[in-house]
């Protein structure tokens, strides 16, 4: 018996080589920080750890249960882990990342590790632990600008996060009480569906996850946190925990068996619609670029949530598409923000008249914003198009009017999002302004921005590669 368990643990450890590798790397990085003072060395070590992790990712076509079904790995998780690492690598190029010590990279790696565990968690307590791992690292990252504003944002984030995780834990305990098991895949509430208290438990537990992926009304921390956090950390926060959290949400919803017609599913659908609406409308009034993009990212969460709510393979394929392109777009938009931030430009009106000195980068900004809005010819259009297709198909299949509403709200939100995403190009090109002291971006900065922009364009003209990835994933029903 004991031997079996030991066998299970030992066998499971080898399947977790990616996470273990990153954790070990993170610890080594901390030690390195005590020995070396060179900033560049930290960056190099960080990238080396990530690339080593990338090589350790293990693909399991048919899925694999680990540690007595507490964790599970599958293709979807493996692909998304690669995506998280990919997103992680680029932050070393951000011009605002010059002054960070080794602890910064340690925390970033913790977020990535926590999120990759989220992709495999199959147990209520494990879920709680890895969400906390991600969250604690995120709270700390928020303060790395060491200003009054960032303390405020950090505390806000911490309080909201603390409360929502406490509620989630309470919800988990209720779920455990009803089911007698902590393992998601063993849940069976079929007969108890309308039990009031059980529904409260579900709602609380799901709410904790909605907090991580910034769904309305759990989104309040997002704008001020994004504004005050170092831009490279925002890039990570807006991509890594969000994608992992949504996959986890998908699994939780699946195992709670709410894909039928229940009021909880309906309320999440309505929250998704509200997320798109509030994210878009909230962005309209912003003058700080990062806050504006933060609201835009909230709206994008609403789009991603739609993919999660469409059951089976269709929804998850749309999710993979959306998350890949969303990550690329976010990396490049925050990279651009970081370039301008390093020159002291953070408010929208400061962009006025910059086109005379920064015409090329201005053009790149236009393409990226167009992609975020979701207009052709960018991959931002392709993913929205793909998602809308799936929503239409689901509406056709079940005739749920809320899905049609979701679709229409999503479409209309694109018009509104035009209004704020275009603000930066608008000031850049259409307004006149004084920018005597502005120093032009370097060639390498422009080159990196160009590479990503071309990627966004290229994925529009030949989306086959994304399609191959999405179609080769064996989506498992846990």
């Amino acid at each position: 018996m004991l031997a079996d368990q030991l066998q299970d643990i030992l066998g499971s450890l080898s399947a977790l080589s990616f996470e273990i590798g990153l954790l070990a790397g993170a610890l080594l990085l901390l030690i390195l920080g005590m020995l070396v003072k060179s900033r560049i060395a930290f960056k190099i070590a960080y990238v080396v750890v990530l690339i080593a992790g990338l090589l350790l990712i293990r693909f399991e076509d048919n899925g694999l249960m680990l540690f007595n079904e507490n964790l599970a790995i599958d293709d979807l998780g493996a692909i998304l882990k690669a995506l998280l690492v990919f997103a992680g690598i680029w932050i070393v190029f951000f011009p605002t990342s010059e002054n960070h010590g080794s602890e910064f990279y340690f925390l970033i790696l913790s977020v990535i590790v926590g999120s990759s565990f989220m992709l495999s968690a199959n147990n209520l307590l494990v879920i709680y632990l890895v969400v906390e791992l991600t969250s604690f690292a995120s709270y700390t990252l928020t303060n790395f600008n060491f200003e009054k504003k960032s303390y405020e944002a950090g505390i806000k984030y911490l309080l909201f996060g603390g409360v929502s995780s406490a509620l989630a834990l309470y919800g988990a305990s209720i779920l455990y009480g009803y089911s007698g098991t902590l393992t998601l895949s063993e849940f069976n509430f079929g007969l108890l569906e309308n039990d009031y208290f059980l529904n409260v438990g579900m709602l609380l537990f799901v709410g904790g996850l909605l907090f991580k992926v910034s769904i309305v009304p759990f989104h309040i921390w997002v704008p001020s946190t994004y504004e005050a956090t170092p831009t490279e950390a925002v890039t990570i926060l807006s991509i890594v925990p969000k994608i992992a959290g949504l996959v986890l949400l998908n699994r939780v919803l699946d195992s709670l068996d709410m894909m039928g017609q229940s009021w909880l599913l309906l309320s999440i659908t309505i929250l998704g619609i509200a997320t798109i609406g509030i994210g878009t409308l909230g962005a309209l009034r912003q003058t700080n670029v990062k806050r504006m993009i933060a609201y835009g990212a909230i709206a994008h969460s609403g789009f991603l949530l739609a993919a999660v709510l469409i059951p089976y393979q269709n929804g998850l394929q749309a999710f993979v598409w959306y998350s890949v392109v969303y990550s690329i777009m976010n990396i490049v938009v925050f990279y651009l923000i970081s370039i301008f931030e390093s020159k002291g430009i953070t408010e929208v009106h400061q962009f006025a008249g910059l086109s005379s000195k920064e015409a090329y980068l201005g053009g790149v900004v236009v393409v990226v914003m167009i992609a975020l809005i979701g207009l052709p010819p960018t991959a931002g259009f392709t993913i929205k198009f793909y998602l809308f297709t799936m929503m239409w198909e689901w509406y056709q299949a079940v005739g749920d009017p809320w899905m049609l509403t979701y679709l229409l709200v999503a479409v209309v939100s694109v018009v509104f999002s035009l209004f704020f995403y275009l603000k930066v190009p608008y000031f850049l090109f259409l307004k006149d302004g004084q920018n005597q002291n502005y120093s032009r971006s370097s060639i390498s900065q422009r080159a990196i921005a160009t590479i990503f922009t071309l990627l966004v364009l290229w994925l529009f003209f030949s989306p086959e590669i994304l399609n191959n990835i999405a179609n080769n994933i064996n989506f498992l029903d846990w």
Partner: protein, 541 residues
């Protein structure tokens, strides 16, 4: 010449790239590149006109197109739905051919008209050439996805062209233009998704292959029991989903056209846009809306077109009369022409709604002739604006004595626009009115009085044009500011070069309308017949 249509699209794109590579100081060279690129486009456009075989009498839409190019572009496996097929699919028929030729011509004239530009020349001509390519692409694309990409791709260059090189309220006007048209195009996007999921066939393995091919949609190759298949029995708020799809498409395209009540972006955009862009906006961009109604809204949803003929016709009538009356109240000449465009585009709606061969041919003829005339009218206003930087009717008087040659052109184009027999505006409007008034007895779609009220539009347009002529050009010579006096010289050779071809064409098509009507006759005939047949079939399902 092979791949004529691809050349038409990609030569301006190549030109844009070339302009982008030139150093900033070589502004003359940039203008020359733009001129050469658009001139090649014009030559190719004329070649298209000459080589187009008007004698083909199609039996189905798949036979109706010429110069067809079909290259598979994207094939995706979409979840459990099946496959999605997007093609690079081009072709022209009698509906799109005249519009392509019209655009090619106006694009050259636009370059000539912006020849004196000094500010940010590089960006201007790059955007201009990108716009040229997408415009042509819009008219020749036979794949809905491709059409949509070109359709959206026009917005951005236009936004910047108005927003950077426009008048004092340019930023307001450009944002308004962008928001309105983007809203419209998103409505089209929703229907596009529904349509492609409803159209297609099964391949040899039994997989469902959904296609964006407009030809297949027009021929009605719908998949059974999908949301937008005729007679599928899906209803929303008491009407079939096809009905709502038609309404969304219709709104999307009449925003572009524009018709009442979605026209308010047009006067703003026209007033603020630089002259060349106004020419393109009125001459070509509005036609994209009309073309979309022909090709997509009407040809794919003939059943609803029949059902809604009366409201559409009434909307056309209101546009004609109301647009004309608002035009009469304007003091800014550009605004006057903008509202007269609304009024004249109302004829397109009216003729299309009638679904008689006269009405539909008239609607198309009206689009082409309005392209020449409104383009010319904006050029004419540009002449004054270049000299005075003012466009108020009150600011000038008695120009006829001072600038006789200019006045000649003004009178010609005003008369063409108000529908004087012998000039091209007359033919289109006459055909539309014949079609509209005759609709009651031919197919009974709507009653006679709608056409009769619309005749008022011609009288109103005579009113505002003649009144403007009287105030600005006749009477005693006078300028509001004495500094303008010295600048009031007659036309320069460059202005002759812009105005003369349009004047000749206006006259030519007015006297020999068959030049245009003959090549498009068979397509128009087929359009009307298949629409009425198909529509009845769908309605009976």
């Amino acid at each position: 010449m092979d791949n004529l249509l691809s050349w038409l699209i990609f030569i301006p794109f190549a030109g844009a790239l070339l302009v982008g590579l030139l150093p900033d100081s070589k502004s003359l060279l940039m203008k020359i590149v733009a001129l050469v690129a658009t001139c090649i486009q014009l030559v190719l456009g004329l070649l298209l006109f000459v080589q187009f075989d008007g004698s083909v009498a199609p039996e189905s839409w798949s036979e109706a197109f010429q110069f067809v190019e079909l290259v598979p572009w994207i094939q995706l496996k979409v979840g459990t739905i099946g496959f999605l097929q997007i093609d690079y699919f081009l072709g022209v028929d009698g509906i799109s051919m005249p519009l392509v030729v019209l655009s090619a011509l106006l694009l050259v004239i636009g370059v000539i008209s912006s020849w004196n530009l000094t500010q940010k020349v590089k960006g201007y001509f790059m955007l201009y050439l990108v716009l040229s390519g997408s415009l042509i692409g819009c008219f020749v694309a036979l794949d809905f996805f491709l059409f949509y990409v070109f359709f959206e791709f026009m917005l951005l260059p236009m936004f910047f062209l108005i927003g950077i090189w426009g008048g004092p309220r340019r930023s307001y006007a450009s944002i308004k233009f962008f928001l309105y048209t983007l809203f419209g195009s998103l409505l089209i996007l929703v229907v596009m998704i529904g349509l492609y999921l409803s159209t297609g066939s099964f391949d040899e393995f039994g997989n469902q292959v959904n296609t964006f091919s407009l030809v297949q949609m027009m021929d009605g190759r719908f998949i059974d029991s999908t949301l937008l298949a005729p007679g599928s029995g899906f209803y929303l708020w008491g009407e079939s989903l096809r009905y709502w799809a038609f309404v969304l498409l219709f709104i999307g395209f009449i925003i572009k056209l524009p018709a009442i009540p979605f026209h308010t972006w047009l006067p703003d955009a026209h007033v603020e846009a630089p002259t060349a862009i106004s020419v393109l906006l009125a001459g070509v961009l509005l036609k994209v809306g009309g073309y979309g109604l022909f090709r997509i809204c009407y040809a794919i949803f003939p059943d609803i077109a029949i059902e809604l003929a009366q409201p559409v016709a009434i909307l056309g009538m209101i546009s004609i009369v109301y647009g004309g009356m608002v035009a009469m109240a304007q003091n800014d000449v550009k605004k006057l022409i903008a509202y007269s465009s609304v009024s004249h585009m109302g004829f397109v709606l009216l003729g299309l709604a009638a679904l008689t061969s006269e009405g539909v041919a008239g609607a198309l003829f009206q689009m082409v002739s309005h392209g020449f005339i409104s383009g010319a009218l904006f050029l004419v206003v540009g002449v004054i604006y270049d000299r005075t930087h003012d466009r108020q009717i009150e600011g000038l008087s008695g120009l006829a004595g001072k600038m006789p040659k200019y006045t000649f052109f003004v009178v010609l184009f005003f008369f063409a626009s108000l529908g004087l027999p012998g000039l091209s505006g007359f033919v289109g409007e006459l055909l539309v009115l014949i079609g509209a008034i005759g609709a009651e007895s031919t197919n009974g779609l709507f009653s006679r009085w709608i056409g009769m009220v619309s005749v008022l539009g011609i009288i109103i347009s005579a009113g505002y044009y003649l009144w403007t002529l009287q105030r600005m050009f006749f009477g005693k010579y006078w300028t509001k500011e004495s500094a303008w006096d010295a600048k009031m010289l007659d036309l320069t050779p460059r202005e002759w070069l812009m105005l003369l071809p349009l004047a000749v064409l206006t006259l030519l098509f007015g006297v020999f309308p068959s030049l245009l009507l003959d090549p498009i006759e068979n397509t128009m005939q087929f359009f009307v017949e298949s629409l009425l047949n198909q529509g009845q079939t769908y309605l009976n399902l």
